[in-house]
Amino acid sequence: MTLTIDRQIYSDVCVSKVVYWLSAQYAIERSLNGNTETLSIARNDGKFFNENQLKSQCLQMLNDYKLRQTIDDETRDIRTILYAKAFADDENLTLE
């Protein structure tokens, strides 16, 4: 089965994560043409699978990872500060 993904909507990171989780059961070939990425998906064990269900699952996963990426991007700095504060040795608490 093939799945076309708009790379202007879903970043390489998003697509890679979906491919990561699918690769347990599926062999996936990726090809990028301009802003369109095409995934050619086949089951590792050659068994039949419900294409519509897989497409819908992929779309759900892509959306989830896109959301996670937004959260990551927006919170990267504050997360670093949080961890630095948590594991530094300074005893005093102060208001930011």
């Binding site: 990561y20 347990a24 937004t70 919170t75 504050i78 500060i81 949080l82 961890y83």
Partner: protein
């Protein structure tokens, strides 16, 4: 509405979504909430307030109470401050049973070469005190450690002597099959307040089949009774391991523990090491174990509802992580991993290992997690290049498949397991049975808390200590 995101994870669980912040606080919300939060389209005002109060979002770019949040995060990882608290001394491979799943690759009772030397014990005890932890647990394993009372006594007495100046809080544990609890062994236990941790797989037919000897169950029950009489019931605990046969008998195993007066049970899966790897398909085992766990768990709930005390230890740990702000010290589910940070092994062969499973790999001539000779200085061992390499992959916050998992705060990293089952320290989550098992059980426990709160909290509240 203007606000800033703070780091959080999300996933779907049944008909709901769960949101988890950086310290493992969980919110149970309608599906689509994470998207609303990111898009700034939250309609529920009270939910909005809860998100701000619990550090999911912030009304200022830097939260005014960031130090408070940082303090909470530090508390969750407090076990790091204490450093290695659990020290396992594998005294011998000698054993008097032939358990079908034995991870220890036990040799016959009479073989003597596979026993720790006094010198190794001396070095090991000294290494133990190099850890700065205020609480040190000295745990004796094997084979069957009760076959080496002289070694046990020597080790404990040495520890007591050193502790006169060190002044740590020492706990001794003897992991025994209870078959050989002689007066001499029980004498040591009485004198030094040694806790007994024994193995009981279930009712007699099950236990005997697992142990490979027909009278094992009777002798274990006798041993438990004797230990309880001499040391007190609260000094004797039992562990079970679910063999393939065990998976057919969830309620029978729980009932057996209840019948023998135990007030807690740890529903443990087999680890894929030692003789266990000769057995069947691990994927099928994992699926069956998950079912087994749920059935046993429901039966435990029933017992609790009838007014009996029966705590499931794995669930108690997850509940503590899920529902309290406190740190949890369970070496199998930790990030940074339990290996070295929380547990060290001093093996009969004179070497230090990263974990119990690590020394079992060595029995199969896989020395990946052998840290070094006990005769080497502590710093050279624990800060060696080998250990530093493991440190790169022992956080579930940073490895693929775990870094964005909503259950991250409740789970852990296990490079040893990854290596054993996937031949890769880093691990490949999509096929990881460690991941599959933990995910299934953690999600199940979360569902119990959110969907059956009124029914189960009165029971769970007594499990969380």
């Amino acid at each position: 509405m203007k606000y800033y995101l703070l780091p959080f994870k999300f996933t779907r669980l049944g008909d709901h979504e769960i949101l988890v912040n950086e310290v493992g606080d969980l919110l149970y919300v309608p599906i689509g909430t994470a998207e609303q939060i990111v898009n700034r389209t939250i309609e529920d005002q009270e939910l909005y307030k809860t998100l701000v109060a619990n550090f999911f979002i912030s009304e200022t770019r830097i939260p005014a109470l960031l130090d408070v949040y940082a303090e909470r995060l530090a508390e969750k990882k407090r076990f790091l401050d204490d450093y290695t608290a659990l020290h396992i001394f594998v005294l011998t491979l000698r054993c008097n049973q032939l358990c079908v799943y034995c991870q220890a690759s036990s040799q016959d009772e009479c073989v003597s070469h596979a026993t720790m030397s006094m010198e190794s014990m001396r070095l090991a005890v000294q290494h133990m005190f190099k850890s700065r932890s205020k609480y040190l647990t000295m745990e004796f394993q094997g084979g069957e450690p009760s076959l080496e009372p002289a070694l046990i006594r020597y080790g404990i007495e040495l520890a007591e002597q050193i502790n006169e100046t060190e002044k740590r809080h020492l706990t001794y544990v003897l992991c025994t099959n209870s078959i050989n609890l002689t007066d001499e062994v029980l004498g040591i236990c009485t004198q030094y307040n040694v806790l007994i941790s024994t193995s009981l797989d279930g009712p007699s037919f099950l236990h005997n089949t697992n142990r490979g000897k027909q009278d094992s169950y009777e002798r274990v029950v006798k041993g438990i009774a004797k230990a309880r009489e001499v040391l007190g019931a609260d000094r004797v605990s039992a562990l079970m391991t679910a063999s393939e046969l065990s998976l057919n008998y969830p309620t029978e195993i729980v009932d057996e523990y209840h019948k023998l007066g135990f007030t807690s049970i740890f529903l443990r899966a087999l680890n894929p090491y030692g003789k266990a790897t000769d057995n069947a398909d691990w994927e099928a085992y994992t699926d069956r174990f998950i079912e087994f766990y749920k059935q046993a768990f429901e039966h435990i709930i029933e017992l609790n509802k009838q007014g009996h005390v029966m705590i499931e230890e794995y669930a108690a740990i997850i509940l503590r992580k899920l529902l309290t702000p406190w740190c949890t010290g369970f070496v199998d589910l930790q990030s940074p991993a339990g290996i070295v940070n929380s547990v060290l092994i001093y093996n009969y062969d004179g070497y230090m290992y990263a974990s119990d499973e690590s020394r079992m790999l060595a029995e199969e001539h896989d020395y990946t997690f052998q840290i070094g000779k006990l005769s080497e200085p502590y710093e050279n061992l624990v800060y060696s290049h080998k250990v530093k390499e493991w440190a790169k992959v022992w956080n579930n916050e940073t490895i693929a498949g775990c870094s964005d998992c909503a259950l991250q705060a409740y789970c852990g990293a296990d490079p040893v397991r990854n290596h054993t089952t996937q031949n890769d320290l880093y691990g490949f989550r999509p096929t990881s049975l460690f991941c599959k098992k933990n995910k299934a059980i953690i999600e199940y426990i979360i569902s119990c808390v959110v969907d059956r709160n009124e029914e189960l909290m009165p029971i769970f509240r007594n499990w969380i200590r």
